[in-house]
């Protein structure tokens, strides 16, 4: 069993979001970088659990980015990956990134490819679907449970207004979210072991960027919170009804 887990470097969830150079670049000043929580807590941990059940399982990690991604890849290795690939390219285009990962996936013949349901920086929720299409695997998005019996995966995924349980023969691509696994903390043994695990830097394939970021905008600041006195609840409801027209 070979599993590929796709991880992305994102700003910590509490980061202040600011931009520089005339709002064309994300301002990294003071930002703590983390593994995208959906990739780490759900995709990677579920892969580790599968390896704990079947120790012959091999977990590969991949990210697309510069050398600044190495610390988060090492952390992912400390949690439990066997080997990591960093595709040495800088892009914000989903297709470009997915196509790079798909190239690696085609060479290595994975049984499962896990992604987080979305990255918390660009929120496109596009990576899993694009990779699946490019490697021609079925795609299960927004999975909350994943079990494997031989070659049959039983998955639960969120659909409009509920959930769906389905069986799919591997190989397949799964985008993972809450429910599929629980967050773990790397232990000292894992951190030491991660230092010697292979982190291979791969040069990117020639692929076109189909989109590019022109600039960023910050939402207009709120006018401020209108406070209503605790003994005047009818006034709050009047404001919501007449001023905000919210119901």
């Amino acid at each position: 069993m070979k599993i590929l887990v796709c991880v992305s470097k994102t700003p910590d969830t509490t980061s202040k979001i600011a931009f520089k150079n005339n709002l064309t670049q994300f301002d990294e000043t003071g930002v703590q970088w983390i593994i995208n929580p959906y990739d780490e807590w759900f995709a990677l941990v579920r892969a580790i659990e599968l390896k704990e059940k079947d120790p012959t399982t091999l977990i590969h990690l991949v990210t697309v980015g510069g050398a600044d991604c190495d610390p988060i890849i090492r952390k992912a290795l400390a949690l439990g990956g066997d080997e990591a690939f960093r595709i040495n390219a800088d892009s914000n285009d989903s297709f470009y990134i997915a196509a790079q990962i798909a190239e690696l996936a085609k060479q290595n013949q994975y049984d499962l490819i896990f992604t987080g349901k979305e990255a918390i920086d660009y929120n496109s929720a596009a990576m899993g679907g694009m990779i699946a299409e490019l490697v021609d695997f079925p795609y299960i998005s927004l999975a909350t449970l994943f079990e494997l019996n031989g070659s049959v995966a039983t998955v639960t995924r969120e659909i409009e207004g509920g959930e769906e349980i389905a069986e799919v023969i591997i190989p397949l691509v799964v985008s993972c979210q809450k429910g599929i696994a629980e967050q773990r903390i790397p232990n000292m043994r894992g951190i030491m072991a991660a230092r010697t695990k292979p982190l291979k830097v791969v040069e990117p394939a020639t692929i076109d960027n189909l989109t590019s970021i022109v600039n960023f905008e910050l939402p207009a600041p709120k006018a401020g919170c209108k406070m209503v006195a605790v003994d005047n609840v009818p006034e709050l409801i009047r404001l919501l009804h007449e001023e905000a027209k919210a119901f």
Binding site: N123, I165, V230
Partner: protein, 321 residues
């Protein structure tokens, strides 16, 4: 060249998000001087000709039961073939569960640039630039799509439904479909509740409610408002409320017209899931709760005293006995 709008369905009916993307797609078509057409996959029973009132000139339906379950591979193959036949240059989805399963696959198949999570109409004055939410709603990015075919997935609740006069021509397609590799064995629909992502109003509770036995006040308020109910992460983690109600960075992201937060302090991770709401109301006994900084209206006080008064007052206005 036309704008193709792929409509979401659930249980053989179109959803609110479908009306939003038809409105969005026909405005875009008008802007770039072409026509808007809709595509319905599956055995939807609604009156499709009537969809003309959302601005689409034609509605194509591929009425095949296999397509009632979303299989991204089958959807992408079918949609991509249809795009090639009709020479559509822009394909529009809603960024719902279905859209998240399908839009990316269609884009990859067509080698089309994708903007997923679009927040407004594209700027087509010089190129094709789409504004989307980034950093969990804390900012926007303007994304230029360079490819010949463009794929957009619009955030639900971010574009108002526009209706006009008109009837659409309905075209039943006859295209063969492969069997699905995803074998659906069970479906559990959440019944009797308003799906959070579609709710116009959401009432949400935090640790300030002190325990699951106290949820009655919140449910009463939600009922008079016809609102969906949600909760903060600690409440979901403590199993006071079901997991699907958890809104926030790692839970469901909502964008209702009105979000009412009861006893939620407003941690940044919670705000990331709700900050696309149009109006936010906060009831909290702690005047220092960070949520007040993000809110539009607030009361500092005991929610157990305030909320029943809110419910009673709304009943008066709505004329509910």
């Amino acid at each position: 060249m036309s704008v193709l709008i792929v409509l979401d369905q659930s249980d053989n009916h179109l959803k609110k998000s479908a009306f939003e993307i038809m409105s969005y797609g026909s405005k875009l078509a008008e802007q770039i001087g072409t026509s808007a057409e809709a595509l319905v996959l599956g055995t939807v029973q609604d009156n499709l000709a009537a969809l003309g009132k959302y601005g689409v000139s034609k509605v194509h339906q591929l009425s095949n039961e296999t397509l009632n379950h979303v299989d991204g591979q089958l959807y992408a193959k079918t949609i991509a073939e249809f795009v090639a036949q009709t020479s559509a240059t822009v394909v529009i989805f809603s960024q719902t569960h279905t859209g998240k399963s399908v839009a990316s696959m269609v884009a990859a198949r067509l080698k089309a640039g994708l903007v997923a999570g679009a927040a407004s109409l594209p700027d087509t004055s010089n190129g094709f630039i789409v504004r989307k939410t980034v950093f969990s709603g804390k900012a926007f990015a303007n994304i230029s799509i360079q490819s010949a075919i463009k794929v957009i997935a619009l955030n639900p609740n971010s574009f108002s439904v526009i209706t006009t006069e008109g009837t659409a021509e309905v075209n039943q397609l006859n295209i063969g479909i492969d069997s699905s590799k995803i074998k659906v064995t069970a479906i559990n629909k959440i019944t009797g509740e308003i799906p959070l992502t579609e709710a116009d109003i959401v009432v949400s509770g935090g640790r300030g409610l002190k325990g699951p036995e106290n949820w009655g006040v919140l449910l009463d308020l939600a009922k008079v408002l016809g609102a969906g109910t949600a909760c903060s992460r600690p409440v979901g983690d403590a199993h006071w409320r079901p997991h699907h109600e958890h809104v926030g960075q790692t839970g469901v992201q909502v964008a209702p017209n009105l979000y009412i937060a009861l006893g939620i302090s407003g941690a940044i991770q919670h705000l990331a899931g709700v900050n696309r709401s149009k109006i936010m109301v906060v009831i909290n006994k702690d005047p220092e709760a960070p949520f007040f900084k993000a809110a539009d209206y607030g009361i500092v006080g005991d929610l157990f005293e305030i909320v029943p008064q809110m419910t009673a007052e709304i009943k008066k206005i709505k004329g509910i006995a």
